[in-house]
Each structure stands twice: as structure tokens, then as C-alpha cells.
Amino acid sequence: MSASGSSSATVVSIPCLLTRWLLSSLGKKTIVAVTGSLLVLFLIGHLLGNLTIYLGQDVINTYAQKLQSMGPLLWIVRLGLLAVFLLHIIFVVLLIAENLRASATKYIAKDNMGSTLFARTMKYTGLIVLAFVVFHISHFTLGLVQPEFYHLYQTLPDGSKRHDVYNMVVRGFQNVPISIFYILALTFLTFHLSHGVASIFQTLGISNRFLRPLLERASIAFAWLLWAGYVSIPISILLGFVQLKLPA
């Protein structure tokens, strides 16, 4: 720094400056926004992968097999995703703690002054998403929820076998309570994102007074588009558009 601020004689190390930045109120929010956007990118990719179910058993099972065969790379991506998810939660908790400390005394007469319900319920919708993610991974990734459908295999013409993701998903969603839970959880995720996606731009400073209303509308549209893509799968299965493929 120059003549203005703190003395230039003190040398401040980079790690120290980094924590000073990232632990400031704006820095913490930046991390929530960056991790939030990475999670959104993952959600887009995951949806595109899931939609291959409409292309048939072979396509989605091949896609799943390709993912599995990436080996260490898959694990790097998975661990990275887990780290991003945990960072999002940790910094959200830090922010909530700071905000509660700052606003300990509340008004007796309450008014929401035009803030949206979605903005005000971010921590609750986030918590529901967390519960859902735990369930979802136990269900389709670890096979703990319906183990009987997890160990399904597709036999290929050459006699080799591979994990039958297609039938696992179809059987999974033929269970009505599971499908309903899945659709509800995605609805709460959509609430989270209908505020969250526009928020990313505000937090990272990619906005101005003309862009903001557009970004807010685009955010809601994007969130519901994602919702439509995701919930179309259990709905198509429940309505019988996507059916079990049994070996001939």
C-alpha cells in the first residue's frame, strides 16, 4: 500500500491476505456464490446425463459405464464436488452465524418489505436439499435404499455384464412414495435456485440496475426449466412412458 493506508513497512503474507479476504463478509458470500455456481453447473451436466434415459437402456447404461470406467478421474470429480458442496454449507453456516449475531434483537411488528419468500427461506430449502442429496446418493450411488434394484445387470451380446442403471432407475421411480419425495425435493431445490441463480450475479458484481430485473426473471425461468427436466423422468416412469426392459 502507498502513503495512504497501513504502513508499507509491514510485509503481510499472501495466505494472511487471502484469509482476510475470504473471511470478510463479502469474501464469505463470494465463496457461497462460486460454490453455488459450480453446483449449478453440475446440476446442468447431471440433468443432461439423466435425460439419456429417454434414448433407451443401451445409451444410458453405456453413459454410466463410461463414467465408471474413468476410474481415478471420476473420483477426483466426485471428491471435488463433495468439497464444493461442503464449502458451500460451511460458508453458509459462517454467514448465518454472523448475521444472527448482527441482528439479535428483532422487531415486534413484522413486515417483509417486499423481499421474496424464496430469498427468506434459502436456509430451509438448502437444508431440504442437503437431506435429499444424502438420500439420493444412498439410493442410486451406494444402493443402500433399494439394494434389490441396485444389483441389476445388463448382459451384452458378447456375454459381458454391466450395471443396469436403466432398470435400477425405472424400478426406483416405480415406487410412488420415492418418486413423490424426489419431485418434492426438486421443487425445494428449484425454490433455492430461483433466488440463488440471480443472487450469484449480484454477489459477484455482474449486475447493474438494468440487468437485475432481467437476471431475476431468467433465474426463475432457468430454475423451473431444470425442474421440468429432472421431474419429467419419475413422471414418465410413473405414467409408463419409460418402461422396464427385461432380458428377452
Binding site: G5, G205, I206
Partner: protein
């Protein structure tokens, strides 16, 4: 007009406070909210009751000294300051809740009066601008595009009342800080200290104990100077750039 008032009374920062009931009688519809309280106070004094303490100064909407959270809304149901709010805005016979501006860094001094000097310390942290001293410069010698001048003027409209922090569920003062950072950061005169200014002001804001922004935009809804919350996006951007520059060591 007659009103039933529920007013926050509190002896000092360390005493507990509570809502007390008062009747406001024969209030002219064109009385301002503060004049209504003056009338109620006259009545209280005549009855030997300690009058209600509240902040005010110019009473014409420019100084930012008046406060009050009325029915849960800082500065009440009008779009301006409490001193520019008139009793005709309220329904005759209605109940009105009057509470102090609430935010952790705004301790109650007495009743409805809170200490907002945290905001002054944030301004102080902003520091100076580098300016040529000596003879008066020619007017308009620094070219500034009209759009930038307008934008800076909009930010400079902030009267520093603190309603943004009082309206925020997180008690965040970001709209105030964003306006104060932006009105200098936008102009050529403020450019030399741009990065240092945003870093120091945000750090002081954190030190004072204000919360963070969750993009509720309740600040924008109550701001009597109509500062748009897009200035917070600009502050976020300036802070992000300045932080990266400082961290990698290229701060001017």
C-alpha cells in the same frame, strides 16, 4: 385523527425496554409523524410523564437524523423519511407500532433514539481523495460522461440514516456502504484510492458488527434516498477486484 400508539420505551442501552401504550388524540391529518409525537409528548409532559425520546434534526428530509421503525418498516409506510411522513397516510383510529431502528451496531441510547456512529466510522475508514490544492480549478476541467455523473449523483443521494441496516433481516449496512464507496469510486476524483477505499470501508463495516447481504433487497425498499441495490453489486465487484489485487500484491 386519533391513534393508538405502541411505543418502545427504554431507559438506556443497558436496561431492558418494552412497548408502552399511548393515545394520540386530535392529530391534524397534515401533521408529520414527528409532529404527532411532539403533540403526544406535550400531553405526556403535562401529565408529568417522561416524554418519548426520538431523533430528528432538519425535518425536511435531507439530514438523515430522523429514524423510527413504524409498523415494522423503517421510516414507515411512505417512500421518504419519517419527518416527511404525514398522518393522513394512516387510517383514523388505527394502532401504530413505533420501535427504534434495530441493528446490532445501533445500540439504543434511550427510547427510540439509537447510536448510529458506526456509520460515521465507516465513512472515516474510507479516507481521503487525492486532490490538487491551491487555486480553484476551472469548472468542468475533468471530463465526466453524463451517465457516470448521474450514477455517482444517485449514490451520493444517501443521507446516511441507517434505514437499510434497520430494514435488513441480517442488519447489513451494505446499501449505505455501497452508496458511499460508489459515489467516489465512480468518479475520476475518487479513482486513485478506489481499491483502498472499498477494502477499508468493507473491513470497518465488518468490524462494527453489521451482517452480510443475502440479497433480500428490503434495504432498497425502504431507502428514503431511493439508492438502488445494484450499488451493492458494484461494491461487490470493486471489493473482489481490490482483494485479488491486494492478495497477489499489485495494489497501487
Amino acid at each position: 385523527m386519533n391513534f393508538h400508539l405502541k411505543v418502545w420505551r427504554q431507559k438506556d442501552a443497558n436496561s431492558p425496554g418494552r412497548l408502552e401504550d399511548y393515545e394520540a388524540r386530535n392529530i391534524p391529518p397534515d401533521a408529520s409523524f414527528l409532529e404527532m409525537l411532539d403533540i403526544v409528548n406535550e400531553d405526556l409532559i403535562s401529565k408529568g410523564i417522561e416524554p418519548i425520546v426520538f431523533d430528528h434534526d432538519c425535518r425536511e428530509g435531507i439530514c438523515g437524523m430522523c429514524s423510527l421503525t413504524i409498523n415494522g418498516i423503517p421510516h414507515g409506510p411512505s417512500t421518504g423519511t419519517t419527518c416527511q411522513l404525514y398522518m393522513r397516510k394512516f387510517e383514523d383510529g388505527s394502532t401504530i407500532y413505533i420501535e427504534p431502528f434495530r441493528a446490532g451496531p445501533f445500540p439504543v441510547i434511550r427510547d427510540l433514539s439509537v447510536n448510529r456512529s458506526a456509520l460515521d466510522r465507516i465513512i472515516q475508514a474510507g479516507g481521503f481523495i487525492s486532490e490538487r490544492t491551491g487555486s480553484a480549478p476551472d469548472a468542468n476541467s475533468i471530463p465526466i460522461p453524463k451517465t457516470i455523473a448521474d450514477e455517482a449523483m444517485d449514490a451520493a443521494a444517501c443521507i446516511g440514516c441507517g434505514a437499510c441496516a434497520a430494514a435488513c433481516p441480517n442488519s447489513s449496512a451494505m446499501l449505505f456502504v455501497a452508496a458511499k464507496v460508489s459515489h467516489l469510486n465512480l468518479l475520476p476524483q475518487g479513482k486513485p484510492e478506489k481499491d483502498r477505499r472499498v477494502l477499508s470501508m468493507v473491513e470497518q463495516m465488518d468490524k462494527e458488527g453489521f451482517g452480510g447481504c443475502s440479497n433480500f433487497y428490503q434495504c432498497e425498499a425502504v431507502c428514503p434516498a431511493h439508492i438502488p441495490a445494484s450499488f451493492i453489486a458494484k461494491m461487490n465487484r470493486d471489493y473482489l477486484v481490490a482483494s485479488i489485487k491486494r492478495t497477489v500484491g499489485v495494489m497501487p
